[in-house]
Subunit: 800 residues, 2 copies
């Protein structure tokens, strides 16, 4: 810990040099921000501004930028004074040019992108690249040094900040919350991160709520509420509210410096006490700053007789049509010159010494902090040998076990071995999902009141349970992006709540792959359990395997989906995922007792290949093509497939049936579509190139159709899966309703087999009888039931 | 308006008869709740309880139920006193048995499901159906009379409540918020509904935050926070907080009655003043009740020496193993008998008169209110003739127009004609999405401070803008489910934020189709604009056509996806969607100026068929099969396809090219998979049964593969689409990167045509030259750009 507790007064008060430095830096940052939005020539304004210097298409967001830069400047000063490690998360991430300008002024930008040098030519590149083809997005993005937070989809700045500081005691996350973003559900649901933050072991988040009154074209709720209500709201969330308001200069510098010093000292008091063993265990009241400053501050007050600064009109480009409107061009030039660029940059165009000395040293610069390039700090997990948790499987499909319980035991020991490098995130369902073994070694984190009836709840807990998929997912992202490992475990259906986060994080990882300076980070591991097939009692709203569908849309270099059918395959897959970097790994398996198929040795081999023939399940002798292939991916459908093969073996021994199980869904596409894609040779070895395949899939059938497209004669794949036929029923009836039952599969096999042996017709009749008996059983129940459901629906929507 | 302002004191104070009635009703509701969880025989406990009377699998949630029933009873009394129309939304919807019990006691349940009669046999059915195969889910669901709120996925109770009361001045929505649900992002983001509610024109929401301390296995944040903080938080959100706490009886009845009377009188004061023209325009401080009562209240205090009532252990089934554990069985019997069922139900098993008189009259019963079966109240929209908004298209592909601007004009007039029956919901982007014509007739609703610089913001506004997809989507759902029409317009990529709501609402609509008593409601219309292809400047995070993928997973009787290529088709599609019932209609079209293809007459015919040959675009003479089919769905890909056909027409006239445009995506699957699916004959007329098809799709290519599966020789479909190749670039480069550019399509056509005329090789070379020139242009730009992007990725991940 290198933080030096500054003499509070020195930090809170600005001397002349401080002021000059802050003022120069802020003017430079604002100038560079405007330059990015407007200029494609004459970057230092060394000649009169003409229409030719103006970009043809004006894009970008000015409104939030001056505020973001002001905060950045003051935090940099704090760092210089204190040595505090800090990461800056810009909630109003559309203020991208401000953060890019900061990185440029700190020299980091030129280090990473040498052509954007600290001179006139480099500055011109800085301007031209912004929101231009081949350049960078208009908001904070993966390309922005110092960022772990994309500014596109709003709402996640606090979850990322809290995730970043967990188990990161020396880190301070500055989280600027815009008043637009503050209206989103995910953001409003994330203030409560303080209820889960341990001051002894975790770092701190300093939220800065930046209220400037308006969004893109309308007012923002928090900006227009009575300030008393805003204060109450934030106090209610558990914060000590510090307010700064105004537009006077240098008054605002003085007041913001004092506010920041106050906040930082309060944070240090809390942390120092907790780390000295003087914490009484009550949830600290962490500081928070409300900054009220004009939108588009320092921009043109009026344009065409209409107020701009301080209104929604300054949100994006305050002066439009600059190339064609000489008055606007003159206004722009006056505006740019108001920052006195000639004082800020030297003859070469480099920032003057006064500005350069504003930046903290080396890695302490927020644009250069390794915490925002977490791959640099990533340590491998210390993993136990997953084989030690094996379920004994003397023969396949004989015993049942709760597979996820084994994963819980593995994670328990991962917790023990990695006391600051691994966390499990789960919306209130760790026990329900049979992962409760982790509680043997860690409580759930909780800083609010704990009662004697609480179990596995405590200040020192590191299992993260909050009834919010958004918080769980976002915390894990923040934890991952700062270099630590974890897993998000959730009900399969409700993984859709945070699907947008999964997609955006995937986009982040995809973009990062193109940037050599971004080191790889631990993968985002998502365990989908309590699946559609076994939510028979909860009904239709709990039956939805939709996340898979969304992960499949991502690029192959990021997205991976695993469907281990039993405990040993699950353990092998989990071990693989925990070791991987910069992927999204989705693992799908139910929590209920389920049949076990493979010994650990077999599981390891099966998972390594990703898919394979289960010779023991079929009647395929490998000497020639089978008559039919029964393929499966997913635990319940595998059980039904194995049962169907068993029925065929016993009752129609003349039919050559091959059973193929797929664990790694991404082995199915061609290798050019996904790096896991199996070779055409292997694909043909498993599926032949002409025999019909009945593929029974855990999720929506369309997924398999799209994955096998382009494989030899893909039309021969008949896919069964979840066809949205759900209700409150029995687990077996779920398979009947979706036509994935063993009896359906037997009939499918017979109907599609290349050769139909004697006895097939009788067997089909027998299957129909079994289904009729099942139907009768259900209808008998139904007799007592009020709902006149249309049970005939089960025959429609199928894949025939 | 039939509300009678009760003499406050009479409402606030309970006389003996009131107390007896409330007590009896509450005991009966609790008894029936426990019966649903436990019993399959002996429903009235007329014989000693034995193991045979106990269900084999114990499911359901007791913990929240007594509180839900207490509130229900008191609101029913309020309704009896006042004639207030009310709808009850149970946020802790897993307390399903409590709401089912309420409907049963009110007689509604038996009206709808006659076999669940108000006698012993009916009660047994009530118990047996609960969370049983063929029965009803354990939570509040579509099958529950009086509900517009599914209790599965948590977080939406307030958005549904606010949507329900918009333009519904006589309705009071009682919204019970559970302390678990209160942790979700969507719920926390929805308290601010009051900032958008007009007391004159809208009804009222009375949130009742029910804090009982715990979730499934751990504490809840709000329940464990310092009560001062909870009060501050809710005041900060803008509420007048009324608190009731305890477990003493009848004290709690007295206090809750007084609290409810206080709240209701406050609501009526606000409304009466506003409707008498005495509102000063400041945002009212609406009342809110915080109810603190023990979890599992009136349940067994201790089981096996461990405290149950008041702890997380009472969340679901407080007594387990009852069939095998005689002690638990005895405890259960004692618990059930503590409600004295013999006093509550008569000889037949029907509720006694005291209980029956607790129910309000007829439709005023909350389980019978037509507001919760909104189809009963649905009035057709008064729609102008959409043809009057037509863009003049003298010849195809010659002029450009912003298509969504026309839709804005149509919606402007829909607003005018339907002053209380239509609203547009949009996250701060109405203008940006070119729908701003609506502001000519309606402001945006906003009840917080308005400043002189605000434009189109006001108290009387009925355009709903809030920077929260969750609020927009949820408000529209509430508005729809209570019988009114609307549209949710949003950036395509960020529609994923609320994708889970789209899916859950789809499930609701699917389930409702099986219940004849549920009248059809207006469709949920979603406009996806600012699409992936035209977010070139915003970059990768804004490029995601993922919602389509999710809607495709829903059943065909609910989900529809339209991709109008221009303004006239958009108008025709929108008109169709506005007239439809109980669908989810997704309409995808960008907001930028785009080529116009069809006259209004052609557009109407094209949309009616859903897909058709564009003879003018191709070289297909209809006398024989073409050499290649170029198909397209989506505006940008249609433009590229038409351009490709034009190139082929000019440069390779010998090639017979057919252009097929698809507006209604659901015409592609077979009719058995979707009711819009075109006949095999029509499919063959459009696509032939053997000619290769180059299908250029707006979304992810896999969608088309899954839709055409099962069509003749589906393998011949080569699909181009968005393959997740995005960045900050030009619109045209977006098509190049994703291989949907005109040049790619020309080369695809040549490579896959059945017959290759002379000149094809030269044309391919020419296309390659064009792409090389484009590449050179981009690389030239790139020279100035910092990012060393790997541009070679554009050649991978394609569909070849």
């Amino acid at each position: 810990m290198t933080v030096v507790v500054s003499e509070p007064r020195a930090l809170a008060e600005l001397d002349d040099r401080d002021l000059a430095r802050l003022d120069a830096w802020w003017r430079a940052a604002n100038y560079l921000t405007i330059g990015q939005i407007y200029l494609r020539g004459n970057p230092l304004l060394r000649e009169p501004l003409t229409a030719e210097h103006i970009k043809p298409r004006l894009l970008g967001h000015w409104g939030t930028s001056p505020g973001l830069s002001l905060i950045y400047a003051h935090v940099s000063r704090l760092i210089r004074h204190t040595g505090q490690q800090a990461v800056y998360l810009a909630g109003p991430g559309h203020g991208g040019p401000a953060l890019v300008a900061a990185g440029y002024l700190e020299g980091t930008y030129s280090d990473i992108y040498p052509k954007v040098s600290q001179d006139e030519a480099g500055m011109l590149r800085l301007f031209r690249q912004f929101s231009s083809p081949g350049g960078i997005p208009s908001h904070v993005s993966v390309t922005t040094p110092g960022s772990i937070h994309e500014g596109g989809e709003l709402g996640y700045v606090l979850v990322h900040a809290f995730g970043a500081v967990m188990d990161n005691p020396d880190l301070l996350a500055i989280a600027v919350v815009g008043d637009g973003e503050a209206e989103t559900g995910p953001l409003e649901g994330s203030w409560k991160g303080v209820s889960f933050l341990n001051p002894e072991r975790d770092g701190a988040v300093l939220p800065i709520l930046h209220l400037n009154g308006a969004k893109i074209s309308g007012p923002a709720v928090l900006a227009r509420k009575n300030p008393d209500e805003v204060r109450d709201l934030l106090r209610g969330h558990g914060y000590d509210v510090i307010e700064v308001e105004g537009d006077d200069l240098p008054g605002m510098h003085h007041r913001f410096a004092a506010a920041l010093a106050l906040a930082w000292n309060r944070i240090r008091e809390i942390q120092t006490a907790a780390r000295a063993g003087e914490w009484d265990g009550s949830r600290p009241t962490w500081p928070l700053i409300v900054l009220r400053s004009p939108k588009g501050w320092t921009g043109p007050d009026e344009v065409d007789g209409v107020t701009v600064t301080g209104t929604w009109r300054s949100h994006q480009v305050p002066l439009s049509g600059v190339r064609d409107n000489p008055e606007h061009l003159a206004l722009l030039e006056r505006w740019l010159r108001s920052y006195r660029p000639e004082e800020l940059f030297d003859a070469d165009g480099a920032p003057i010494a006064l500005i350069r000395e504003q930046a903290p040293e080396g890695d302490l610069r927020m644009s250069a902090t390794p915490h925002a390039n977490g791959g640099l700090l990533t340590r491998d997990l210390d993993l136990p040998d997953f084989r030690e948790y094996a379920v004994d499987v003397p023969r396949p499909a004989a015993e049942r076990a709760e597979s996820t319980r084994k994963l819980g035991e593995l994670m328990r020991d991962v917790y023990t071995r990695n006391p600051d490098n691994f966390r499990l995130f789960c919306p209130d369902e760790t026990n329900s999902n049979r992962l409760g073994a982790v509680f043997e070694v860690s409580d759930r984190a909780f800083m609010e009141q704990v009662t004697p009836d609480d179990v596995a709840i405590g200040r020192d807990g590191r299992v993260m349970e909050v009834l919010s998929e958004h918080n769980c997912h976002g915390w894990l992202e923040g934890y991952n992006l700062t270099g630590r490992h974890g897993m998000f475990a959730t009900y399969e259906a409700f993984a859709m709540v945070s699907a947008s986060q999964t997609i955006q994080h995937g986009k982040w990882l995809q973009e990062a792959r193109h940037l050599p300076w971004r080191a790889k980070v631990p993968s985002l591991n998502i365990l989908l359990t309590s699946t559609a097939w076994r939510n028979d009692h909860n009904g239709f709203s709990h039956q939805g395997p939709g996340l898979i569908q969304n992960v499949l849309t991502q690029r192959g270099d990021v997205a991976r989906v695993y469907l281990p059918p039993d405990a040993n395959t699950l353990l092998s897959v989990a071990d693989h995922c925990f070791r991987s970097r910069s992927y999204i790994n989705v693992i799908v398996i139910d929590k209920q007792p389920q049949l076990q198929y493979l010994s650990m040795a077999e599981a390891v081999e099966h998972c390594a290949r990703g898919a394979g023939i289960w010779q023991w399940a079929g009647t395929d002798d490998d000497t020639s093509d089978p008559d039919i292939v029964l393929a499966c991916a997913g635990d319940v459908v595998t059980m039904e497939t194995v049962a169907a093969a068993q029925i065929l073996k016993q009752r129609l021994p003349g039919l050559k049936v091959r059973v193929v199980n797929v664990v790694d869904l991404m082995t199915l596409p061609r290798r050019k579509d996904h790096p896991h894609g199996m070779s055409e040779t292997l694909f043909t070895e498993l599926f032949t190139d002409s025999v019909d395949v009945i593929f029974s899939f855990h999720g929506y059938p369309g997924a398999i159709h799209q994955l096998v497209h382009g494989r030899p004669d893909a039309d021969r794949f008949r896919v069964r899966g979840f066809v949205e036929q759900g209700t409150t029923t029995t687990p077996f009836d779920m398979t009947v309703r979706n036509r994935t039952s063993r009896y359906h599969l037997v009939m499918d096999a017979i109907n599609n087999a290349g050769r139909v042996p004697h006895g097939a017709t009788e067997l089909k009749t027998w299957c129909e009888e079994q289904l009729a008996r099942h139907e009768a059983y259900i209808v008998e129940h139904l007799e007592d039931m009020p709902e006149v459901r249309d049970w005939s629906v089960r025959t429609s929507g199928s894949d025939r």
